[in-house]
């Protein structure tokens, strides 16, 4: 049996940094050893309190608060990148435009990514952030109480949608390095929650984790074996050991059955360790950066081999590039 050490999930991830438009300039936002830092806001808590009292909130503070709100949000896994090739190019202009736009929609400017996407000017849209078809609260007393309650609920839902959308865009705008690290936080949070109950993950999180792992393992398996991603069937492994990977059937009935713990998402996938030297990495046996030891499978059904790996650092946009 392979013993997987119980250490911090981010041991194979180096720090990363992004520049965020804040006030009149741009500020650095850093991620280091599992924590987000705002070096140019040394007293971020005090600033947040001032903002809550009516002061202007710095963009960096907003980003840090969004990070905290979504550090265990499974939606991050559903929306975020499935791998380095899954390019999600959101710019800060997109975020600003969305904040000024209506509740429902993005307002892409495309300015940050240099793509010839169309422009939807935010001008003319309601500034309150509510869909124009939804009337404001404070309806005439003649409107039945039930209808008022429904409309109020609709407004609250739209406000939640607006904030969730803005949060997600802000977090995506930090770039790929932050996107995968946030996904790591989410996966680790739910893996840890499940560990207490002896399960791979708590019940309500399992469907989202299975889908998240399927969506990320599919392209990796395609690269590894040439198998169609739709033929990859993932289940959550619980208990000791790294799990299992088997290939069954032929032709259209061919299936790659993969059972891995959800922590794989955090320790392996987020660190960019999925496929090294034609080995599917199933676990990290000694975390570290830029050098680590992992367990890799040369083929389905084989025993995992220990591999000493090194991050050559040539991956673009904070993406790792590990080699044996």
């Amino acid at each position: 049996m392979t013993v997987i050490p119980d250490e911090a999930w981010f041991g194979c991830l180096p720090g990363c940094e992004a520049r965020v438009p804040c006030g009149q300039g741009t500020h650095a936002v850093r991620w280091e050893a599992g924590s987000l830092w705002l070096p140019e806001h040394p007293d971020a808590e005090a600033e947040a309190v001032l903002a809550a009292l009516g002061g202007e909130k710095a963009r960096c503070i907003e980003v840090a608060q969004a990070w905290a709100r979504h550090a265990d949000d499974l939606s991050v896994l559903a929306i975020g990148p499935r791998g380095p090739a899954d390019d999600i190019a959101i710019g800060w202009d997109d975020v600003a435009a969305a904040q000024q736009g209506a509740a429902g929609g993005f307002v892409f400017t495309g300015s940050a990514v240099g793509r010839p996407v169309g422009v939807r000017p935010a001008a003319g849209r309601p500034a309150a952030g509510l869909h124009p078809s939804v009337p404001a609260a404070g309806l005439h007393p003649s409107v039945p109480a039930g209808v008022q309650r429904r409309r109020l609920r609709a407004q609250e839902e739209l406000e939640l949608i607006r904030r969730r959308r803005t949060d997600m865009l802000s977090l995506l705008a930090l770039g790929y390095g932050f996107q995968v690290r946030l996904a790591g936080h989410v996966a680790a949070a739910h893996a840890d929650a499940g560990a207490g109950s002896g399960q791979a993950a708590e019940g309500r999180a399992r469907p989202a984790l299975v889908a998240a792992m399927t969506g990320r393992l599919g392209p990796v398996a395609e690269q590894w074996l040439g198998i169609d991603p739709d033929q990859v069937v993932v289940s959550l492994h619980a208990g000791p050991g790294w799990g299992s990977v088997e290939l069954t059937g032929r032709g259209e009935q061919r299936r790659l059955l993969v059972a891995l713990p959800p922590r794989w998402l955090a320790r392996v996938w987020a660190a960019g360790l999925t496929l090294v030297d034609r080995h599917l990495v199933v676990a990290v046996s000694r975390a570290g950066w830029p050098d680590a030891r992992v367990l890799g499978l040369r083929a389905p059904g084989a025993e995992p081999e220990p591999l000493e790996v090194h991050d050559g650092g040539v991956g673009g946009g904070h993406a790792s590039h590990w080699e044996v």
Binding site: A78, I88, G104, V107, G110, R115, G118, R153, D230
Partner: protein
């Protein structure tokens, strides 16, 4: 039921759709912004979400989360506006294809047969003429009922101009008309009347609710003598006072949902009849309804609310083949045998010479309460032919009010309602209008095809999960002058 597998199925489908959408993203990303792009793969996911929430394998909030995440995920990759998709709460709740299970998650105590409730129903069959200024007409009283939601007459009505031409439009022609009608009882009480109409039929509600034990009511219409309405109980309404017959069944939630879906398909198919085989235009609405049906069946099986051995998917595939519907994605082989009532309707639709002459106007009093089943109380309150259509009026109790967070129950009646006429032909019923009052839904159901006015009796079949209830009713047609 396996809720975890249900949600997993939906999320994996989202992954597949996202991957498929992004494989074309290289082409899309250089294209101008398009609001249509994210929506292209959204309906497939939304249909499965609808179906899983309909059978309570997935709660609405979880389904909405999956759809909202998908909309954002597609939007950020394709530089398209997911705005309309993010507002999916109403989209999921309204305009549903799949009827919601009733009354909620399977509850052994709720699924089963009960006795006919203490509600009071009397068939009437009285015509009350009226005249006011230049307008005349008549109100046809089909039934009187007194239930927890109140007391009401189910009626049809007509108005005519001074030269005898039928007046079109809603209402009684004048807002003053309703106030000119009065109702009193044998104890000297007077009642306020509230009129609730859809086109030529509806309800007249009495307030306050008349007490039990009345012998008669008297309706006074403008320009006419009062008409006395006998409230003496008249038996079950069936021949020889035979009450509704009950046959216990045990359909799964998935089978019931697909069966009701087939009814709706046959309802829509009836609008086109023989054209279905000949023109793609006629089949378009049916193709749209059935797109993704294969996904839905797979989702129901994954959620363990539909047995892989169930015959219903195969019957649906055969029905689609009969209606020349393609692209539904059902993988079950067609067959084995279609229900008799489906075959009856299909043979009618596929006749070379469909009925061209509309059914003549007429009205038939009905008042029959069905035994409670699936947590539902149901009563038939009248039937009429108007403008070539046959309308059946029902009162349904035992259901939650539509609070706007879920699908509107009356528009998604999760039971099959069929009528067999005295000539042996079957007619499918679909909800055409509804309103809710004090715990009860008043439903107006359209029959397809319309009943011939020569129909001497009908057999009304209501099929739920736990039982099929059937009542045979003689029709005493009344005719407009």
């Amino acid at each position: 039921m396996n809720r975890e597998r249900a949600e997993t199925f939906l999320r994996l489908l989202a992954e597949t759709e996202l991957r498929a959408a992004c494989e074309g993203a290289a082409v899309v990303s250089a294209a101008p912004w398009s609001a249509d792009t994210p929506a292209a793969s959204f309906p497939r996911l939304a249909r499965v979400a609808q179906a899983l929430t309909a059978v309570h394998a997935l709660d609405l909030a979880a389904a909405q989360d999956v759809l909202a995440d998908f909309a954002i995920a597609i939007g950020v990759r394709q530089h398209s506006d997911p705005g309309p998709l993010l507002l999916t709460r109403p989209a999921l709740a309204r305009g549903r294809l799949y009827a919601r299970s009733w009354p909620g998650p399977p509850d052994p105590a709720a699924v089963g047969l009960g006795a006919v409730g203490p509600d009071f129903h009397v068939p009437l069959g009285l015509t009350v003429p009226f005249r006011h200024e230049d307008v005349s007409g008549e109100v046809n009283l089909l039934s009187y009922s007194n239930t927890p939601s109140g007391a009401r007459f189910t009626v049809t009505w007509r108005t005519r101009s001074p030269v005898g031409q039928p007046l079109m439009g809603r209402g009684f022609g004048s807002p003053a008309f309703p106030r000119l009608f009065t109702v009193s009882d044998d104890r000297g009480n007077w009642y306020q009347l509230d009129f609730c109409f859809t086109d030529w039929s509806g309800e007249i509600l009495l307030r306050p609710v008349p007490p039990d034990g009345l012998r008669w009511l008297e309706l006074s219409a403008p320009g006419q003598k009062p008409v006395r309405i006998d409230l003496a109980p008249q038996g079950s309404g069936g021949p020889d006072d035979a009450g509704p017959r009950v046959t216990p069944t045990s359909a799964s939630a998935g089978e019931q949902m697909l069966t009701v879906f087939a009814d709706r398909l046959l309802m829509v198919a009836g609008e086109h009849g023989p054209d279905l085989r000949q023109t793609a235009y006629a089949r378009a609405p049916l193709n749209a309804m059935t797109a993704g049906l294969g996904d839905v069946v797979a989702a129901l099986e994954a959620a363990e609310v539909l047995s892989p051995l169930s015959q219903v998917p195969g019957q649906l595939a055969a029905l689609c083949a009969s209606l020349s519907i393609t692209g539904h994605g059902l993988t079950a082989p067609p067959g084995p045998e279609l229900p008799e009532r489906w075959l009856s309707l299909l043979s009618h639709y596929q006749r070379r010479k469909p009925d061209l002459a509309p059914a003549r106007d007429g009205h038939a009093p009905l008042a029959v309460a069905f035994p409670e089943f699936d947590g539902m109380r149901l009563a038939l309150l009248g039937l009429h032919n108007t403008d070539g259509q046959t309308i059946l009026h029902l009162l349904v109790g035992g259901l939650p009010e539509d609070d706007g967070t879920g699908p509107p129950l009356p528009e998604n009646l999760p039971v099959s309602v069929w009528v067999r006429d005295s000539g042996g032909r079957w007619h499918v019923a679909g909800v055409d209008g509804a309103h809710f009052s004090d715990g009860e839904h008043w439903l107006r159901m359209k029959l397809r095809p319309a009943l011939a006015r020569s129909t001497a009796w009908i057999e009304v079949l209501v099929a739920g999960r736990s039982a099929e209830v059937c009542a045979t009713l003689p029709l005493r047609w009344g005719y407009p002058p």
